[in-house]
């Protein structure tokens, strides 16, 4: 019992800091950001902020949001996190159409291709499916029950993703695994048929994304991990096609003696609209690493580092709409003790996020950002954000991720010490 309490204590301390997240709807109309428990949405087309309303009487998020996502048709938006609430929003009205309580804290969400089933994963490794067709507005409380779809055995699920054709659901976990499961016609009966496991990472898998182009509409899978690599997979067979070590790139821009022994983790991936590039966010790297992706030759190679002039900005999350060659990034965190404001965020945009070489991908100045000052005011909460606070946030996010996902190593003495309370050891004395 003592041991359990101790572990719980550890958990609350390390879960305090959540990275800020960003998501774009597929038509590039809305930018959505989560910072701590705060959800902020901006309408790019009308140039104004959106206020989120919950007419069903459910409460807003009370704790850090860990996952946000638009559906493929742009009609739904889902947010979920540490307060165990999964909230489904209609992007037409920005009203919350359903709030479901998860048993455990939620770590990832995804919406199926048809836009009907919302899937979310909890920190005990169970993925649930929620049928949004049963929310008819009038009797919403009746069938709002998520059913377990699949499970990784007691491992934190870090990312959920549907294959472009919608036939498979992919789940990545802290135990280095990516599981590819057939998404059945009726997911409410569970997804029992495993297509493959993509095994090869040597640390936690942090993010998944699909890269597609005209020749490969079914796409290939790319994954990022705590082992400082981005890997390309044939997800139907689970075979590893290519590995790209990005750690060295990240180390160059900020060689910090203290961190030399631990490899910087890949924190997010975002492919561009034509599948020629993948943007990679890495701990320690101020800016974005662009990988060029050749699906015919099954190759990933480092194209360039897009650095951010004049400030240190290590993105915590990336987003892009498939209709625009534009990469959105955010960095920030919730509940930092160091900073005076409770949560802070910095939003930047990279233009020319395309494989065309004549135009260089560059970071857009704040004055030229789509949406302009109103967008920054809405999403960042203020126009200017102190650089010190931003680097403190990056450090805190990094520590939190590490504590959460990397297995604790105990020395032999420590392990023996932990055993001393065991009944069978006590008897001997």
């Amino acid at each position: 019992m003592e041991e359990i309490n101790m572990e719980e204590g550890d958990q609350t301390r390390e879960m305090g800091v959540a990275p800020a997240l960003i998501a774009l709807d597929p038509t590039h109309q809305y930018v959505s950001v989560s910072v701590g428990s705060d959800l902020r949405v901006f309408n790019l087309r009308e140039g104004c902020g959106v206020s989120l309303v919950d007419p069903t009487g459910g409460c807003m998020h009370k704790d850090a949001v860990r996952a946000i996502r638009f559906s493929g048709n742009g009609k739904l938006f889902v947010s979920a996190g540490d307060d165990k609430l999964v909230k489904v929003w209609s992007t037409e009205s920005w009203h919350c159409i359903a709030t479901v309580t998860s048993e455990k804290r939620v770590s990832a969400v995804a919406i199926d291709k048809g836009g009907r089933y919302v899937c979310y994963a909890d920190k005990f490794g169970v993925v649930y499916a929620l049928d949004t067709e049963c929310f008819d507005g009038t009797n919403a409380s009746l069938n709002k029950k998520a059913v377990p779809l699949l499970a990784h055995y007691c491992s934190i699920i870090t990312s959920l993703e549907f294959s472009p054709d919608g036939k498979f659901i992919l789940s990545a976990d802290r135990d280095f695994k990516i599981r590819v499961t057939v998404f059945p016609k009726n997911p409410l009966d569970g997804a029992h048929e495993i297509q493959s496991f993509c095994l090869g990472h040597t640390e936690f898998v942090s993010c998944l994304a699909f890269v597609c182009n005209v020749d490969f509409p079914q796409g290939n899978l790319v994954s990022g991990s705590g082992d400082s690599t981005v890997r390309l997979w044939d997800f139907t067979t689970g075979s590893l096609l290519d590995t790209c070590d990005v750690g060295s790139k990240a180390g160059l821009s900020q060689s910090n003696g203290k961190d030399a022994e631990v490899s910087p983790a890949v924190t997010d991936l975002c492919p561009n609209f034509d599948g020629s590039l993948v943007a990679v966010a890495i701990q320690n790297l101020s800016g974005i690493l662009l990988l060029s992706c050749n699906l015919s030759f099954r190759k990933l190679s480092i194209a360039k580092v897009v650095s951010i002039p004049g400030e240190t900005c290590i993105p915590s999350s990336l987003g892009a709409a498939l209709s625009e060659p534009m990469l959105w990034m955010i960095m920030g965190a919730s509940s930092l003790r160091v900073s005076d404001s409770a949560s802070l965020a910095r939003v930047r945009v990279v233009s020319n996020f395309s494989g065309v070489t004549e135009q260089e991908a560059t970071v857009v100045d704040d004055s030229d950002i789509p949406g302009g000052q109103p967008l920054l005011q809405k999403l960042q909460g203020s126009l200017s954000v102190g650089e010190e606070a931003i680097s403190a946030a990056a450090e805190a996010v990094k520590t939190a991720l590490r504590n959460l996902l990397i297995k604790k190593q105990y020395s032999t003495e420590r392990r023996e010490h932990r055993k001393c309370g065991r009944n069978d050891k006590k008897i001997k004395k």
Partner: protein, 246 residues
């Protein structure tokens, strides 16, 4: 505590003496593992485990929670050309089985070359050891019952873990479960019954399967139950094709 290696062996039979390998009866499958785990099945070096085989033959039988290895030892001579592996979480017990196999190999030259044991948490790492549809038989004999409802997720047979077992089992492959705890027997049966990729063997199939009687007679736990005149509850299911899912 350290005992010299050769004194732990029985002088007459060359087999390890159990009293030097006492372990706790239970181990928590939920805790983080601190033993090496292969990244993927291709990384497992079977030439160490089966030195007299060509290194290309794949393991077909897996005894999950093999304990002291009684079943493996019986199966070894019954299927001399089939590779089989026992998986056990408790390191001392794994050491015992290793020594036992080594002893048997020495005293019976040419025999027991097809069995081996690995220390792992099979609830977490089954896909790290076996490819899709690699296994033809899986054994779950006398698993830890985990009576408390709060601990049911530690049970080795559960609806979600069956998905992974179905993945490593070939269509037509058989999963054998048995217990002396009635409640657990019902649980395992209902999990298998409710799973779309498993179908119960018929009475005739069970009778004609020569492995079935080993479930009780070959394992240490089974013998203990028989000695005490206890009852056992088997559930034996076949992996079937997933035709109707899509």
């Amino acid at each position: 505590m350290e005992v010299e290696c050769n004194t732990t062996l029985n002088k007459k039979t060359g087999l390890p003496r159990k009293r030097f390998y006492r372990a706790r009866a239970h181990s928590n499958p939920l805790s983080d593992s601190h033993f090496p785990v292969p990244t993927c099945p291709a990384e497992v070096d079977y030439s160490i485990h089966y030195p007299q085989f060509d290194g290309l033959t794949k393991v077909q039988f897996a005894d999950i929670g093999c304990g002291f290895g009684g079943l493996l030892v019986s199966l070894a001579t019954l299927f001399p050309d089939t590779l089989m592996v026992g998986m056990e979480l408790r390191d001392k017990v794994t050491e015992y089985v290793k020594e036992r196999i080594n002893g048997l190999r020495t005293t019976n030259p040419g025999q027991y070359q097809n069995i081996s044991v690995v220390r792992t948490n099979s609830m977490k790492y089954i896909p790290n050891y076996f490819e899709k549809a690699q296994l033809t038989k899986m054994f779950f004999l006398f698993p830890d019952p985990h009576f408390k409802e709060k601990n049911h997720r530690r049970r080795v047979i559960s609806p979600h873990l069956l998905d992974e077992y179905a993945y490593v089992l070939k269509v037509g492959g058989i999963i054998y479960t048995i217990t002396d705890v009635e409640e657990l027997g019902e649980w395992m049966k209902s999990c298998l019954e409710g799973h779309p990729l498993f179908k119960a063997l018929t009475e005739e199939e069970i009778e004609s399967d020569q492995v079935v009687e080993l479930l009780t007679s070959a394992t240490e736990e089974g013998q203990k139950v028989a000695r005490n005149g206890g009852q056992t509850f088997p559930a034996i299911y076949r992996r079937i094709e997933a035709s109707f899912l899509f």
